[in-house]
Amino acid sequence: MKAIEPWVGVPLQTFLDDSNARLTLLMTSAGQVIAQDGFTRSVDVMAASALGAGIIASLDALADVMGTGPFSAVLHQGSRQSLYLRAFETPRGRWIGLVVFGTETSAGLVQVFFRDLAERIAAAAPANGTMAAPLAATFEHELNASLRSLFGR
């Protein structure tokens, strides 16, 4: 497990221990990566964070069109692996969690333990404001710095 925000480490490790998730990615709603576990290639993290943030943004837009209020989670159940994507509020802004899990756990357990993770992150977050969305001019630099932190290269 690697986290750019060190205070995320303890709650995330608890989630990993409890849930048996295979892959976990925490990101901001702008797609900035906060922490990851299970990914071995930085290109996969980049793709997953961009797609995850895009799916949540699409859901928000769809909810606006339908007038239903925000959808907060997506659960895609496959035969061998499933995906759970959930947006949640933190004192540092809206974050997104992407979890891939297999038959060694269940959708119910992942949802329950992810709810606990969101609560623990909200409680542990330092009270120093929301994270700034990346500017286009600094995006690549910040992305590379994040990936170096997450993969150590």
Partner: protein, 116 residues
């Protein structure tokens, strides 16, 4: 869905029953529920389904038949799960005053109606 709810309502009519749920066995998600205030149905469903699955695996490994009823007694109450066919479980939470024999009968009755 109303039929499921009626079955669960009958289970929670047993004195001391705090919750009855129909739970998908594989994913631990709630299909239908009749809950008292303060019961976290999603958590109970997920953990009870996981527990039942592990107990069933343990029983199979030991060469036993699958348990018809799983009953977990604690200081202040009990958790009961009964297989209901089609990958479903009936899960109930009882307090310590509950007649667990009667509760098991009602759960098995509900499960057999679901299978039938």
């Amino acid at each position: 869905m109303n039929a499921y709810r009626e079955l669960l309502d009958r289970v929670v009519q047993v004195r001391g029953m705090r919750a009855a749920m129909l739970v998908s066995e594989d994913d631990g998600l709630v299909v239908a529920e009749a809950l008292s205030e303060g019961v976290d149905g999603a958590s109970v469903a997920a953990l009870a389904a996981s527990l039942t699955l592990r107990i069933r695996r343990a029983a199979a490994s030991a060469g036993f038949a699958a348990p018809a009823v799983v009953q977990l007694r604690a200081e202040r109450g009990a958790l009961l799960t009964v297989q209901a066919g089609d990958g479903l479980l009936v899960v109930a939470i009882a307090d310590r005053e509950t007649n667990l024999g009667l509760a098991r009968l009602e759960l098995r009755e509900a499960a057999s109606r679901l299978v039938g």
